[in-house]
């Protein structure tokens, strides 16, 4: 650990987060097995496999264009389960409420959670609620945990990418992160960017149905964006990945807002996107299946697993140049330089 106090960067998904996990949290907590570093843990249970995951949601502001902390909390956990190839079945909800939170706000959040759960066909079966004094929580914190089951024998994990594989993305990047950032006070920017928060389990089921064992890995690029997730994948699979900047779908409003703030859309969070690493021979048909599905109509091939240095992620730039993509240390901060 290079710091003796916890910094915001430790929660941003970049190298500081990894440092915290690798040097402190995993060594001290993990008694089960090697740290899989996947979105969900896949554990053997009564002769079957179960996927189990947990996530906490502390987004600020709690209401933003395109959603709120509630649907985020449900979709996020649904998606983590889906990325392991599991069918999400049940969800738990832990609420930490700040004294003074308007009941009407809580009502809106709960309705959104129920609607998100229904849309994802999961059941919220258990939960807990705590209230803390004013100032001790940022209006509401939510933790959701989820269990999923496997309807197939496929083994999908972050270490499954192979040279020659193709990387698919189901739509434009950066919507969620920019929607939230723009909704915060202090930057005084207006736009119609909306969060892409959405459940992906339906899309995943379809991709697996069509691609089967040709689908080698699935990851959802949340904190840290597509860049961080691909870097993690490259490390886990010990492969080199090359992205094509011209193939990356980005909404003009997102690239415009990023240009003003000096941010890179590749590092901005998404909440309704997945990366699918697929064997080359199956790429076209999996892409076609993706585009047929409502959650993947803007799907695209954005890169491939090339044969170079393990753990490297390269970008072929719009003018044909090459540069590397590295994980950020902490949060991406707006800059004017």
């Amino acid at each position: 650990m290079t710091s003796d106090i916890i910094l915001l960067g430790h929660g941003s998904g970049g190298t500081l987060s990894h440092q915290l996990l690798d040097e402190l949290i995993v060594p001290l907590l993990s008694g089960y097995g090697p740290h899989q570093q996947n979105d969900a843990a896949v554990v053997p249970f009564a002769g079957q496999r179960l996927a189990f995951t947990t996530d906490s949601y502390v987004v600020d502001p709690i209401f933003f264009p395109g959603g709120n902390i509630g649907d985020l909390a449900i979709n996020g956990t649904v998606n983590d389960l889906a990325m392991s190839g599991a069918r999400p079945v049940v969800i738990s909800v832990g609420l930490i409420l700040e004294e003074g939170l308007p009941v009407e706000d809580l009502r809106r959040i709960l309705i959104a959670m129920r609607q998100a759960a229904d849309a994802a066909a999961v059941a919220i079966v258990t939960g807990d609620t705590k209230v803390v004094p004013r100032g001790k929580a940022d209006r509401v914190f939510i933790n959701t945990s989820g269990i999923g089951v496997f309807d197939h024998e496929l083994d999908i994990r972050g270490s499954g990418a192979r040279p020659g594989d193709v990387i698919l993305l189901n739509g434009p990047i950066g919507d969620h992160g920019m929607a939230v950032l723009v909704a915060r006070e202090g930057l005084a920017i207006e736009s119609d960017i909306r969060s892409d928060s959405a459940p992906l389990n339906g899309l995943v089921a379809e991709l697996l149905r069509v691609g089967g064992a040709a689908v080698h890995a699935l990851r959802d690029p949340t904190r840290g964006g597509v860049a961080t997730t691909l870097k993690e994948l490259a490390n886990q699979s010990q492969v080199e990945i090359t992205l094509d900047e011209t193939a990356l779908p980005v909404r003009p409003a997102v690239s415009g807002a990023c240009a003003i703030l000096g941010l890179d859309p590749l590092f901005v969070a998404n909440e309704g996107k997945l990366l699918a690493v697929v064997a080359a021979e199956a790429a076209e048909r999996v892409l076609a299946a993706m585009r047929e599905h409502p959650a993947g109509v803007e799907g695209a091939i954005i890169g491939e697993v090339t044969g170079g240095a393990a753990g490297k992620v390269l970008l072929k730039t719009a003018i044909g140049g090459r540069r590397a993509i590295e994980m950020l240390a902490g949060e991406q901060l707006p800059r004017i330089c």
Binding site: T2, S3, I5, I6, L7, L8, G9, T15, L16, Q19, G186, L187, A188, I189, T246, A259, I260, L261, G262, D264, L314, L315, K316, T317, A318, I319, G320, G321, R322, R323, A324, I325, E326, L328, A329, G330, L333, P334, R335, I336, C337
Partner: protein, 363 residues
Amino acid sequence: MNFSREFRDPRVARCLLAEIRQAVDGQTGVLTFMEVCGTHTMAISQQGIRSLLPPAIRLISGPGCPVCVTPVDYVDHAIALARRPGTIIATFGDMVRVPGSSSSLLREKAQGADVRIVYSPLDAVALARRNPERAVVFLGVGFETTAPTVAGSILQAQKQGISNYFVLAAHKTMPAPMAALSADPELQVDGYLCPAHVSAIIGAAAYQPLAREGGVPCVVTGFEPLDILQGVLLLARQATAGVAKVEIQYSRVVKPDGNRKAQQLLAEVFAPADAHWRGIGVIPGSGLEIRSAYAPFDAARQLPVAVEAPREAAGCLCGEILKGKVTPHQCPLFRTGCTPENPVGACMVSSEGTCAAEYKYGI
């Protein structure tokens, strides 16, 4: 017309690269072109420009990162103000992770200091208006693109009768360091890519002495990929023809005389002063200090605090990096002892530092 997208056409990029190769065809030795703008440092790395240029052209970075050339005692001063009770520090994101002698603003924030990232100094003025019982200190770092905006914020605070808005000023000006670099016998610079937006303010004519007396080609260049490639092409043509003049590639924004009104705003609030450039030393008249007429807004004068004695980290080669004498890979600390998570010097942690760019984008 979209003033950005038009300047990214990859087909035109290929043409420009072919012309560049033609311009240096038969050239013995390497032409070294230096950019002196952090945004150029970043753009060149982000666009992968170096991977496309012929080996006869070498692009290096000079002291174009205002955060990087700011001495460590400025950060210490900002930290001391952050610790002052009832104070809000408002700053561009660029400054927040820069290491001072023993801490950083981000670390101070983690321990309870009120440090806020703003996009514009006017946002800091608004912050002051909304928090009349607190002192709001804006960290004024940046060259002539930014300094007039800070001047503007002081004038607006004055107009609105706001008395709790202060600026801790450490602005510096171009082209002063370029002349210092050109005079350095250890450095061979065959051409300058001159900064785009600093030049929009000060005008391209500011570089005449460098070209005429210094004999160094100067091309004022924009930030889009085609701008940068065209800038390199114009420099290559000048250098191979043995010519040294000031050319404006970024003609859609930069004029020979620059933005007079912005210059006046600057001169109204700021006066030239000597400034210490990290790695280079003191360059006379290359800094900006708040004039006494605006002393009520000067944080250094109005909010006295004890600032710790400055300590530069041992082994830090930022000074040599900033002069373009050492590349990041030549620094023994690069990637080993000095990383974005654990930065030793500003060049690594500044959002546009030379080492940060190489660490993030270098292959």
